[in-house]
Amino acid sequence: MSTTASAPRTPRTPRATGASGGRRTSASPGPTRHHNALRRRNTALGWSFIAPNFIGFALITMVPIILLFYMAFTDWNALTTPNWTGLANFERLMRNTTFRAAVAQTFYYAIPHIILTGILALALAILLNQKLKGVAFFRAAAFFPYITSIVAIAIVWNLLFSPTYGPINEILHFFGVANPPKWTVSSTWAMPAIIIVGTWREMGYYMILFLAGLQTIPRELYEAAKVDGANAWQRFVHITVPGLRPTTFFVTVMLAIQSFKVFDLIQVMTDGGPGTSTYVISYFIYQKTLGYYSTGEFGYASAASLVLFFICLTVTVLQFIVNQQADLVKPWWSSLPMIVGLVFFALAVWGFCVGHALIIGWGWYLVLFVLCFVAVGVHTSILRRRQS
């Protein structure tokens, strides 16, 4: 409600700002009073831009998510009054062997999938950004897996992976592999199979974003570099990579989040099986809320969502910090706490998944990791203030 109430207030102020020449934030040193007035005007101006999207977004998405944060600490079952249960849901999650497996398998899917998809999408975008005959067709072909119904994709890939009748194993047989994997019906090979299909399906999607990003790099830069005798690799490293940085940031953040919350593909390809070998966190959440054997434990599922949220947030914040540091002149040791922090994070995740205390419990590693990250964040913001 308050967001709507504040909406009519905001547009009035910026009009004044606009009339007075639209002074902008960027370090205009002056008396404090003037500075404060500018700050207020900028705040109003900023909100006036954000409001139309924010009002809808806050009401439809943010409010239910805030509620979910509350429900994670209750026994809510969607039908009766939620009771506050404190940390009970989280304690149950930590004891749950299936959930631990799901966390481990989420990382197992996400990390290779992020790397493979990111690289292939970029390579495709660069390849299909050239002047080629029929480039429109190839671009469409690359994007086609993403628009084909996921049900059909799962069916066809399962057919291709079929252990006795599938073409993939026939090819492997042909090349002399005596015991080809059983792919989606093997607890060892199901996840690699899903990673392959996930990469195959999504690289066209991220290719589109990279293609759009490539258009923002002025062509003159490449021509100038060619004149200077730079080869293709040098042009890629010194022009394409820096020029694509905003796009790369967007792609890696989205790709990471989408990979950590992978669900659809798992559901249609293997439905979590065989056994629990392809359970991921999102699948666990689905199973508790809407799955075939749903227990309707929405409070419990909210707690699991919070764990997933925390993982995604960590990865996202990490990328934000790296992105912010990229422009800064920084001492050689400044990336050390980040590396140490990541090691702590890996130890925490590993300790949690195998249920094993590595000298100290995984919870302590998590604390150490958070401390490292706070340090990195503070350091970065100090550097930024000094250098802006």
């Binding site: 909100w47 831009f49 943010m62 239910p64 897996p145 996921i150 967007f250 989205m254 969502s305």
Partner: protein, 280 residues
């Protein structure tokens, strides 16, 4: 001479590679077309039969006469167009606020926007449904889906990243010419973000077009079915028998509009279009 020959060989190799790659990418689509021409009961067999024994062309007639394919297409088209336009408009507008106006709390707010993408929808869809019912949006035709999909964080994030690549000097000189911030957004930023707007439009359109869990929950009235839930009516529960061939015929038809839109839209991804006038 030799260089030229090599170049030609290289190009041929490239084309062979690209064609093989395209085949690899289009296999499921081919299987869908073939399955849509089989009898319902013959879609899944051992071993796989790629080409139907007898082509059942009438499936493509049945889907219009026995099911409301026309209504579904119309609803999906309206929904996708409206949602895409709203995403482009509000997303790029908000993105300007995040990219070019500095105010306290901006980065935290932006992080909150992005972070919500990380929450799985299954977990908060019930509170969302209750909320939508409380504000009397459920059961109002396509409105609940429009409201649900139009205000995402995705568009804001994407457009912000692209706005940041546009040189600040352009805005600065426009400001000296007396253009307001809104004017800069409209006259400078939008025209220079063609590829970004095109990719946002394309991706939003596809996402809306293919979404089924949202419409399944919010669009209960048959008159407002979208194509994805319409196709779901061909799928029976485990005890019944699904109309698989019709399902895939519908899926093939539902892909065609997106393919056309893609072929029209991809010309925005041509080198140089965004760089005109960017020589700061």
């Amino acid at each position: 001479m030799m260089g030229k020959g090599l170049h030609r060989v290289g190009k041929a190799v490239l084309y062979v590679f690209l064609v093989a790659f395209a085949v690899f990418l289009l296999v499921p689509f081919f299987w869908m077309i073939m399955s849509s021409l089989k009898k319902n009961i013959d879609v899944f067999t051992i071993p796989i039969r790629w080409i139907p024994q007898v082509f059942q062309w009438h499936n493509y007639v049945d889907i219009w006469t026995q099911a409301a394919m026309g209504t579904w297409l119309q609803n999906t088209l309206i929904l996708s167009v409206v949602v895409t336009l709203l995403q482009l408009l509000t997303g790029s507008f908000a993105a300007y606020g995040f990219a070019r106006v500095r105010f306290p709390g901006r980065d935290a707010l932006f992080l909150a926007y992005v972070a919500t993408i990380a929450v799985p929808w299954q977990a908060y869809m019930i509170p969302q449904f209750i909320l939508m019912t409380k504000i009397h949006l459920t059961g109002k035709g396509l409105w609940p889906m429009i409201v649900l999909q139009a205000f995402g964080a995705f568009g804001v994030f994407l457009m912000k990243q692209f706005f940041e690549t546009i040189p600040e000097e352009l805005s600065e000189s426009a400001r000296l010419d007396g253009l307001s911030e809104y004017g800069i957004w409209l006259r400078i930023m939008l025209p220079l973000s063609g590829p970004a707007l095109a990719s946002l439009a394309l991706l939003t359109f596809v996402t809306t077009w293919n979404d089924y869990m949202g419409p399944l929950i919010y669009l209960r009235n048959r008159a407002y079915f979208t194509i994805q839930i319409g196709l779901k009516t061909f799928q029976a529960d485990p005890q019944g028998s699904s109309l698989n061939a019709l399902l895939f015929a519908g899926s093939v038809l539902s892909i065609l509009p997106i393919a056309i839109i893609f072929l029209l839209g991809q010309r925005f991804f041509i080198e140089g279009i965004a760089t005109s006038g960017m020589k700061g």
